[in-house]
Assembly symmetry: D2
Homo-oligomer: 426 residues x 4
């Protein structure tokens, strides 16, 4: 997987030679294919739960997005490769009846992985040629905006692709290796260190013309009391201390609802962990490994993160606290481009390794209005019962990251690269 | 039910003659009994779902609260009436095994309603006598604080008592009448009117020494953009317009999760509504009635309220917007004391008739710390996945109301007196 | 409860003086009331699960049966006490919508127990007077047939009334006593004894004019291989030996489906058992009692009975084997009339104490045709997935018993008085 | 698929040249591979529900059976290809934890289909060579018995393989074609014709030395009343008449439990049917086709079959009636070997096209004793709550058929080739 960290600003392809958007497009499309190189055809169809999708489906859906929102409406004479793909690969398609349900994506053995790759090429060709010849019935700026959106959309699916795959692989007793293990990096010394922040009337949310999702704006004022943030995410070593102190059995540490979920699912450790001969092991995309005490804990739910913070005598940050601290810092951390696919704890700042649960529910910012049309369904319709996470993970493309970037999951979910960072009042 | 609106500041009983706390205690305890006067012994045990409890259980649990948190720890020599009640009437008691579960409260045919009333008298006598003789091992101020908390706790259960009962009665095809119907009041004319608010850096949260729950503080600053609020809650007439415009069938109006809940439950109108000969009817505590177009809509979920607001081109207010507008206004509206037990729309300000869904998740305020001990479990452990409502309803004792008062329910819940008010940006 | 064993052939009342049917009617109706004498009004409404009904509902439904099938069609000018009872107390009534569901019978706090008793009297009066004055538009023989059916139907509900009540009481931590405990009878010595049967071409099924349910006929020939039957049901002592030998943990003893049910429900003993200080206790209608080793085991599912039989190296009998052995024997055992309400093991023949699971699915006999009309729904519609039990229990009225009597329950059910008897090939 | 009807008694391979068992083995193993020839690698992993397994798993499990019960215990020095396959491909393996569950077979993208085929060859080679060289620590007769059992086991899985695959394909909106459609055969004229049978004391169950499953014996006597059987299964045309007469909406035709299942699942036609422009279509292994009125109805549950029979004024046969009529008749019908994979109605006797629901629960015959050891788990542990079907289907290898052959499914299951034949009393 030599191309994961290909820098679109340095490489030249036929398309990228023309523009930054072209470079982004080429690099993004290529990386998706690089990510499925280690997979067999049979791996390509795996779906382990309704929340997850097969690798092949991610390949197709990210292509469908370009076809549906750019080629079909704006490229005169465009011929779809197969009319039926419009239904098969539409994530939003809602219809009575059992045949097209999200939970059934794993049953689409046809079209084949090869057919899907041909579909990708077909759409890419049309986009490249259409753009090269100025054939789109759309202004160039708007076309580039839509292409950029499509690339960012595809980057989100790159992260889902590897985490969904990991979930499916975890049910195979052979515990397949996705990425070759690398020598375990020595993590930074575990000193207790916090950064202090004055708060006050700050501004958060996306500003400027660069790409951002609708839910990241409008930029707006928020009042913050003074606070501090831990310099690194909570580690596996700290989590084991919580476990050994009875954290999973002490109901007073838990939210009422969290306790019910924990009881129903018999949670007594993060997802993918098991104990063997007195030692904690975990399944990773590098295969089974001993739990690394110095690395950030990952695959914990909001309920667990909240209980841990209470046990530690602190709390989770709000998303505004996180963003106010992050704005202007350099985005440097363990992202998808490293090819590690596991949190390492090697770069312990605000960024990368694991998404960090905040105590903020995913809600609209003041003045938020979703765009018109289907693209407007992107984020707004999820604004209930989900919690915001910040910072990106070892499965997130670095290009996607911004201090205003908000991802969100349900409090019970654990299969993504989810961890936490502690906060406290001053 | 002549005593529902007894004003504790005017009445004199043996206990109340001594203090405001005594008056509050006497009036609160008496009102609970007044509320069950229309019930038969068989009504007293009804439990229709896990979220609800039988009337008899509310009578007992509010008594247990005084016994457990005041008499047992602080009254030397206090003899419980029955040791087993400590388990039976503890709402927080969590234990493996099926015998004491919350969902089984309706199976407690014993102790009888009579025994529970005797239990109430036993605890009241001990409290009154102990206080009169200064027998508590506790400072007088702290005793009064705990008594006040117990009274406010009991007022919350008064509201639950009547709404839980309504839910149980609704399953009886005889559709029992709880409160005698009153002549339908003529509602105020339905003109479209909004109040404007400048926002800016405001303070919300409880201030001062008067009673408030832990989650209402600390008082803190919040930045608000300018906004406006509708002068009255959304009415049944407006809701029917939404229904007739296909509101329940138009998925684009709904949150993703809301639509799934709506589909699963086949919702096509508020809870308790049915159509008969072309006319909408509803079950109320006054028995079956035609839906009153001028009265506020009630028994709608957050999902429905959110969809309605989107349909109307507006939005729900945040809780900070609501509180900033309400602070300092006179608390005047249709509360429990009116004896109507249905929303009437007669007093269309910010207060009463129906709780108003806000777009704010129930979260801790900056600097929130729950008190130590079991009383600290009161609110904090519910701070996930629930939405805040404001303003009180026709089933809420007026004495309970404050501009900082936060109640909270899950977005799918409908059996309480839940409605909505529209907000908009300026 | 002095009237449980009232012999309708000896007693004389105004009605019984006229005929055997009259005597049966009087005794049956009186016994139902006797059975609820120990209950409070609040007990009368208890429903603990969908399979069970409240005592009050049994009182009403057995009355509804006479009203619906005799008074309404055949007594000119009959005025129902309340038209709405036709719906409320119809066990077969199926309708979309949540308001009249079987699972909601426990929410019918109204009509009151008093109203239901008045309903009983109203219907009884109409029946007695109508019959005395020959006012029925029906031949006398057919009238008596229907009255007899109604009485047998009511006897079935007498058994359900006490077993349903027991289930509801079991969820009350106070573990109410229904019947006064009696001195524990010394059981017969536990010698291993079997009866031998030649089999061959035998006849089973009801013959003659006396009352029997439709499913007990037609009488027909069955070929049986030689077999033997244990002289008494399996005892608690034997069951504990099975438990101590790991019977509940040895999957090879269990049917595949039985094991899944056992795992899902964490069964490790019969229903209502718990271990306290090393001793097995059980809840009974006489309140909590130590498990009596000499008494028959009760409250075991078919799955458990089948696993026990395999563990014991034997099998369950077929219903034909049981009936062929029972035909012509004296019906002598511990039935409802004893007032014990627990199996005692004192009369260890084929009859009474506990229903005995057979290995026969409840299926139609050759030539079975249900009667026309609603009465024809009595048994035929249940003929799938249920197993036949034979012999009657300590909660069964003795009058109901016949060698051809078939009762049936689902393999997972345990709340009735269900036990087992071993059989073997010769 | 030219080899589906290869006759093992005529063909000669290296193994078959030696014996009938060898011929059976070669033909059976080859046919399994022939059945997956039309599949892609991605098809090989499809699992659509817990009741079904992926094609690849069937290939592996049938191989595991030979390895586990013959090679491992009896071939000295046998080296398994991969020790982990013992767990992966054991259908009976029960273990706590989510990783090896039956419902997760579809997630085994590894080992690949190619690896599984290599596993098949490895085991076949060991069997053939071991047998050729007399290397087994087992008598030749017993070895051949086990080989024969393994072949019959594999034939059962051949039927499951195609019906499971059909179920998975049905969720793909592309509705894949498995077998090339053949010209629709003209079915025999639909005259109403019945055969009459005297009944009396007959013998049923397997007799003699030829292969049969344990549950087909012992042979035993059964008394039958005179009866008649319809000459052919119920057709689609008859089923449509039932549907048009409101059969799916008339509760009085249905078993209580059947109605509940029908309501819960919104059944209004057989599985895989839909209506398009007023015409009924169905998905088949030949792809989507108009419903052929003259062909037998297929994919109906026991509940539906039972309701149909009641609507038709007749009943389903017992399994003894079916077997007594079938014994001695020629086994001639539409089986797997035809390559049609759909019922055609062309050979309307007792055999083939569709399995026929009987009214008999799957129970042990008198004197039934399962064999010792794991092989004894084959049938006995399923003997509760399932119904027997007789006659074989278009997906059943003809070689498997015998008049004593019993298959069994749950009353709600429909994905197999399940139909019905009417019976009546004389």
């Amino acid at each position: 997987m030599t191309h994961l960290d290909a820098d679109p600003t340095n490489e030249a392809t036929e398309f990228t030679s023309q523009s930054a958007v072209g470079q982004l497009f080429d690099a993004t499309r290529e990386r998706t294919l690089t990510l499925v190189e280690p997979l067999t055809e049979e791996d390509m169809g795996l779906q382990s739960m309704e929340d997850a999708s097969p690798p092949k489906w991610h390949l197709a859906h990210t292509t469908w997005f370009f076809e549906e929102f750019i080629l079909k409406p704006y490229l005169p004479g465009y011929e779809p490769k197969d009319d039926r793909f419009a239904v098969l690969f539409n994530s939003y398609y809602v219809q009575a009846g059992p045949r097209h349900m999200r939970s059934r994506r794993g049953l689409l053995s046809r079209p084949s992985a090869g057919d899907v790759k041909a579909y990708r090429a077909h759409v890419e060709d049309a986009l490249r040629e259409g753009r090269a010849h100025g054939a789109f019935a759309l202004e160039a700026d708007r076309l580039d905006e839509l292409l950029t959106l499509g690339c960012h959309h595809e980057m989100q699916h790159q992260e889902l692709l590897v985490t969904d795959l990991m979930h499916a692989f975890s049910f195979n007793p052979l515990l397949p290796v996705y990425a070759e293990p690398r020598p375990v990096e020595v993590a930074a010394p575990q000193t207790e260190s916090w950064s202090r922040h004055d708060g006050g009337l700050v501004e958060i949310g996306h500003a400027g013309d660069s790409f951002a999702y609708d839910c990241e704006g409008p930029r707006h004022r928020v009042w913050l009391e003074p606070y501090r943030l831990r310099d690194r995410p909570v580690t596996n070593g700290e989590w084991i201390a919580f476990m050994e102190d009875g954290g999973y059995d002490n109901q007073t540490l838990w939210l009422m609802e969290g306790w019910a979920v924990r009881e129903k699912n018999d949670w007594d450790s993060p997802l993918y962990w098991w104990k063997q001969d007195g030692v904690w092991w975990t399944y990773t995309l590098q295969g089974p490994r001993q739990v690394d005490h110095a690395a950030p804990v990952v695959h914990v739910s909001y309920y667990e993160a909240d209980a841990f913070a209470r046990w530690a005598g602190h709390r989770l940050p709000t998303e505004a606290e996180w963003e106010a601290a992050a704005e202007g810092t350099q985005i440097d951390g363990n992202f998808l481009e490293s090819g590690a696919f596991v949190p390492t704890g090697r770069k312990p700042g605000l960024w990368g390794d694991v998404w960090q649960w905040t105590s903020s529910a995913f809600s609209p910012y003041p003045g938020f209005r979703p765009p018109e049309g289907a693209i407007g369904e992107y984020n707004g319709k999820f604004m209930v019962n989900q919690m915001v996470l910040r910072g990106g993970s070892c499965a997130t493309p670095k290009l996607q990251m911004r201090s205003s970037y908000r991802t969100f999951f349900y409090p019970h979910q654990r299969w993504q690269m989810l961890g936490l960072r502690l906060a406290a009042d001053l």
